[in-house]
C-alpha cells in the first residue's frame, strides 16, 4: 500500500513538472528550491520579511498589491505594534466625513495596501504605455501547476535582464502545411534547418529579458545591487532580493499554503487508516464468498 502511494506520489510529481513545462512557451523557466515546496513545506519568515522590504522599497512604486491588507503581515511574524507602525507610514483616502468631504488619514491594519496610481490609465501613462500589473496573484497567474512554479518565474524574470542579443527566436516559428510536411521535417531536416527562426531584436524604449514572453518588457530592471538595505544584515545582491521578493509574492498569492499542507498531512493519515480498515473488513466479508 505504502509503496503504491509513494509510487503514485512520484508519478504525479513528475507529471506536474512535465505538463507545467509543456504549457509554457518556448522559454524554459529554471527551477529553484523553495522552503514552501514539498509535503511539509512552509514559508521562511525571515525571507518573507526581507521580500516585503523589497516590495515596499522598490516594487510598490509601480505595482499595487490590492488583495493584501496590513493585518495580513502578521503571517510574516510581525506583531500588532509593528503592523500598526508599518500601516501608519501610508496614507489612504477615506470619507466622506460629516461635511461630505473625502479626506486623507494614516492607514490602519484593516486597510489594504494603497495602489501607487489612481487608476490603470494613470499607471500606463507613467510607464511608457504599459500598466504594471497588480502583484497579489502574480505567483499563480503566469506559470501555475505546482507550488513554486510562479515563484520560479518571478525569480527568473527579475534575474533575467542580460545583455540584449542581436537576434531572438521569432514569435512565429516554422508552420507546417500538414502531417506529411511535419513528418518529413522531423525525419529528414538537417540540423541547420531545425534551428529556430530568428529575428532581429528592436528594443526601442523596452528592456531585454530572456524569460519574458516576447523578450521585450516595459519594466526596466527594477533591482540593482544594494537597492535595499536589509535590516537583518543579509547582503542585498540582485539574486538575494529576487529570491526574497518571489518568496513574499508566493505568500501574497497563496497565504493559506501552510494551513493547506498541515491539514493535508492530517487528512492523509486519517484516509490511510480508514482505507486500511475498510480493506481488512472487505477481505473478511468476502472471505466467505465462493
Amino acid at each position: 500500500m505504502k509503496k503504491i502511494l509513494i509510487g503514485f506520489y512520484a508519478a504525479a510529481l513528475s507529471l506536474t513538472s512535465s505538463v507545467a513545462l509543456a504549457s509554457g512557451s518556448l522559454i524554459e523557466i529554471p527551477k529553484q528550491e523553495w522552503s514552501f515546496q514539498g509535503t511539509f513545506g512552509s514559508y521562511d519568515k525571515a525571507s518573507l520579511q526581507r521580500g516585503f522590504q523589497v516590495y515596499k522599497d522598490v516594487c510598490s512604486g509601480c505595482h499595487s498589491l490590492d488583495l493584501v491588507a496590513f493585518r495580513n503581515l502578521a503571517d510574516l511574524g510581525y506583531n500588532e505594534d509593528e503592523i500598526k507602525a508599518i500601516a501608519a507610514e501610508y496614507t489612504v483616502e477615506d470619507g466622506p466625513n460629516d461635511e461630505g468631504e473625502m479626506f486623507e488619514r494614516n492607514a490602519i491594519p484593516a486597510d489594504r495596501f494603497p495602489a501607487p496610481f489612481p487608476n490603470e490609465k494613470a499607471a500606463a501613462a507613467s510607464n511608457g504605455g504599459k500598466a504594471p500589473p497588480d502583484l497579489s496573484l502574480m505567483a499563480k497567474a503566469r506559470h501555475g501547476g505546482s507550488d513554486g512554479d510562479g515563484a520560479d518565474y518571478i525569480y527568473a524574470l527579475l534575474t533575467g535582464y542580460t545583455d540584449a542579443p542581436e537576434e531572438v527566436p521569432a514569435s512565429t516559428q516554422r508552420q507546417f502545411t500538414g502531417l506529411f510536411d511535419f513528418l518529413s521535417y522531423k525525419l529528414f531536416a538537417t540540423e541547420e534547418e531545425k534551428k529556430p527562426i530568428m529575428e532581429p531584436l528592436e528594443l526601442g524604449d523596452l528592456s531585454y529579458n530572456e524569460y519574458f514572453s516576447g523578450y521585450k518588457i516595459a519594466m526596466a530592471p527594477p533591482l540593482s545591487e544594494d537597492a535595499v538595505e536589509y535590516s537583518d544584515g543579509t547582503p542585498a545582491t540582485v539574486e538575494q532580493m529576487s529570491a526574497d521578493v518571489s518568496h513574499f509574492l508566493m505568500w501574497a498569492a497563496e497565504p493559506k499554503l501552510e494551513a493547506r499542507k498541515n491539514t493535508g498531512v492530517k487528512v492523509m493519515i486519517f484516509l490511510i487508516i480508514f482505507t486500511l480498515v475498510m480493506y481488512a473488513a472487505k477481505r473478511k466479508v468476502f472471505a466467505k464468498v465462493h
Partner: protein
C-alpha cells in the same frame, strides 16, 4: 428478507409512507452480481462526488457575488478571509475534475462490458443525459470566478451557437442577454449553475430506479440466474464501495492539498479583461476531446454538429452495437478495438490542448474520423462480419468456481 420492524413509530410511518422499506431495499437486500470487479465502484464514487459538489457549492454561494466588478474579488475573499474558505473552494475546484474522472471510467466500464445493451438501454441513456448536464454545469461554473479563461472560454463556447443558420446571431444575443459576454451572462450562468446540479440529482434518481429494475451487469455480461449468483448489497458492496472511496479520496487529497491548481489554468488568476485576449484559450481538461473534434472540422457549423454528434451518438449506441454478447471478455475482436478507441479518445484529449496548427490539425481530423468510424461502421457493420465470439459460461456461479 423483506423489511420488518417491532418499533411502533417506525411501523406507523411505514404504513403511510414506505420510505424506510425502500431504503432497506436499495441499501440492504438489493441483489448484486457476486463477481463484480473494482470498475463497478465508480458509480457510487460519482454519486459521492455529486453530493460533495452540491454541499461545497452551496457554501461557496453564500460568499460569492455574481457581478462582473465583484466576482473575482469575492472569490479571493473566500480564499483569504472566509474561515476555511480556501478549503471549500479547492474541494469544489478539484472535485469537479475527479467527478469527471469517475464518470469517464464509469462510462468506459459500460463500453467494455456492454452495459448499454438490452435491457439497460434507458439506464445508459439516462447516464448520457447526466453526462451532458454535467458538462453544462461545469462549463458555467468555470465562468463564475470571472478570470481571463472564464471570460474567454464563455465567449468562445457561446459564440459556437452563431454557426446555426439564420437564427444563430439572435440565439447568441439571447444567451448573452446583451451584445457580449457581460453582467447579464454572468448572472444567468450563476442561476443555472445553481439549478442544474439538482436536475442532475433528479436524473440520477431515475438512473438508480432503472438500475434497480434491470440490476447490475457484471464482467461476464450474463444475467444472474438465482441467489447463488448474487450477493446482497449490505454488507458486501457497502464495504467494497467504502474501501474504493478511501482510495479515491487519497488520490483526491493528493491534488487538493499538494497541487490544487494543477488541473486549473494560471490565466484564471488574472481578472477578466474583454480588451486582452489570452494567447491560448483552452477549456478545462475534461472538455478537451470534444474541443478537438470541434476544431477538427474546418467549417464552424460542421464543427459544432460533429461535437454534439459525438455525444449524441452515445444515445443510439445500444442499437449500433449489434452483437448479442455484452462483455468484451468474450468478444476477441471488439476487445482490441475497445482499447484502440480508448487510446484514440486520449489522443483527442491531448490534441484539444494543442494550438490549432499542423500537425495537430491533421491528427485531430484523423482521430475524429476514427471516433465516428468506431460507432458508425466498425460496431454495426464490420464486427458482425468478422467476429466469432467465444462461448459464454452457463452461469456466474459456475464461472466463479472455475477461476
Amino acid at each position: 428478507m423483506s423489511f420488518k420492524t417491532n418499533n411502533k413509530v417506525v411501523q406507523w410511518v411505514e404504513d403511510r409512507l414506505p420510505l424506510i422499506s425502500m431504503g432497506h431495499h436499495t441499501l440492504y437486500e438489493y441483489p448484486m452480481p457476486k463477481n463484480l470487479n473494482y470498475l463497478w465502484n465508480f458509480g457510487s464514487l460519482a454519486g459521492f462526488a455529486l453530493v460533495t459538489m452540491i454541499v461545497t457549492g452551496i457554501i461557496l454561494a453564500m460568499q460569492y457575488t455574481a457581478h462582473v466588478d465583484m466576482a473575482f474579488n469575492s472569490v479571493e475573499r473566500i480564499m483569504r478571509d472566509v474561515n476555511n474558505g480556501w478549503l471549500i473552494r479547492y474541494i469544489h475546484m478539484n472535485m469537479a475534475s475527479f467527478f469527471f474522472i469517475a464518470v469517464y471510467i464509469h462510462m468506459m466500464r459500460g463500453l467494455y462490458y456492454g452495459s448499454y445493451k438490452a435491457p439497460r438501454e434507458l439506464l445508459w441513456q439516462l447516464g448520457v443525459v447526466i453526462f451532458l448536464l454535467m458538462m453544462a454545469t461545469a462549463f458555467m461554473g468555470y465562468v463564475l470566478p470571472w478570470g481571463q479563461m472564464s471570460f474567454w472560454g464563455a465567449t468562445v463556447i457561446t459564440n459556437l451557437f452563431s454557426a446555426i443558420p439564420v437564427v444563430g446571431e439572435s440565439i447568441v444575443t439571447w444567451l448573452w442577454g446583451g451584445f457580449s459576454v457581460d453582467n447579464p451572462t454572468l448572472n444567468r450562468f450563476f442561476a443555472l449553475h445553481y439549478l442544474l446540479p439538482f436536475i442532475i440529482v433528479a436524473v440520477v434518481v431515475l438512473h438508480i430506479v432503472a438500475l434497480h429494475t434491470v440490476t447490475s451487469n457484471n464482467p461476464l455480461g450474463i444475467d444472474m440466474k438465482g441467489p447463488q449468483d448474487s450477493l446482497t448489497f449490505q454488507p458486501y458492496y457497502t464495504i467494497k464501495d467504502l474501501f474504493g472511496l478511501g482510495v479515491f479520496l487519497m488520490l483526491f487529497a493528493f491534488f487538493l492539498f499538494w497541487a490544487p491548481n494543477f488541473m486549473g489554468h494560471p490565466d484564471n488568476y488574472i481578472p477578466a479583461n474583454p480588451l486582452s485576449t489570452p494567447a491560448h484559450i483552452v477549456p478545462e481538461w475534461y472538455f478537451l476531446p470534444f474541443y478537438a473534434i470541434l476544431r477538427a472540422v474546418p467549417d464552424k457549423l460542421g464543427g459544432v454538429i460533429a461535437m454534439f454528434g459525438a455525444i449524441a451518438i452515445l444515445f443510439v449506441l445500444p442499437w449500433l452495437d449489434r452483437s448479442k454478447i455484452r462483455s468484451c471478455k468474450f468478444r476477441p475482436v471488439a476487445r482490441i478495438f475497445f482499447w484502440i478507441f480508448l487510446a484514440n479518445g486520449l489522443l483527442l484529449g491531448w490534441l484539444g490542448g494543442q494550438p490549432a496548427e499542423e500537425p495537430y490539425v491533421a491528427l485531430s481530423r484523423i482521430a475524429t474520423a476514427y471516433y465516428f468510424f468506431h460507432f458508425l461502421i466498425l460496431l454495426p457493420i464490420i464486427l458482425p462480419m468478422i467476429e466469432r465470439p467465444r462461448e459464454l459460461p452457463s452461469s456466474i456461479h459456475e464461472a466463479v468456481l472455475k477461476s
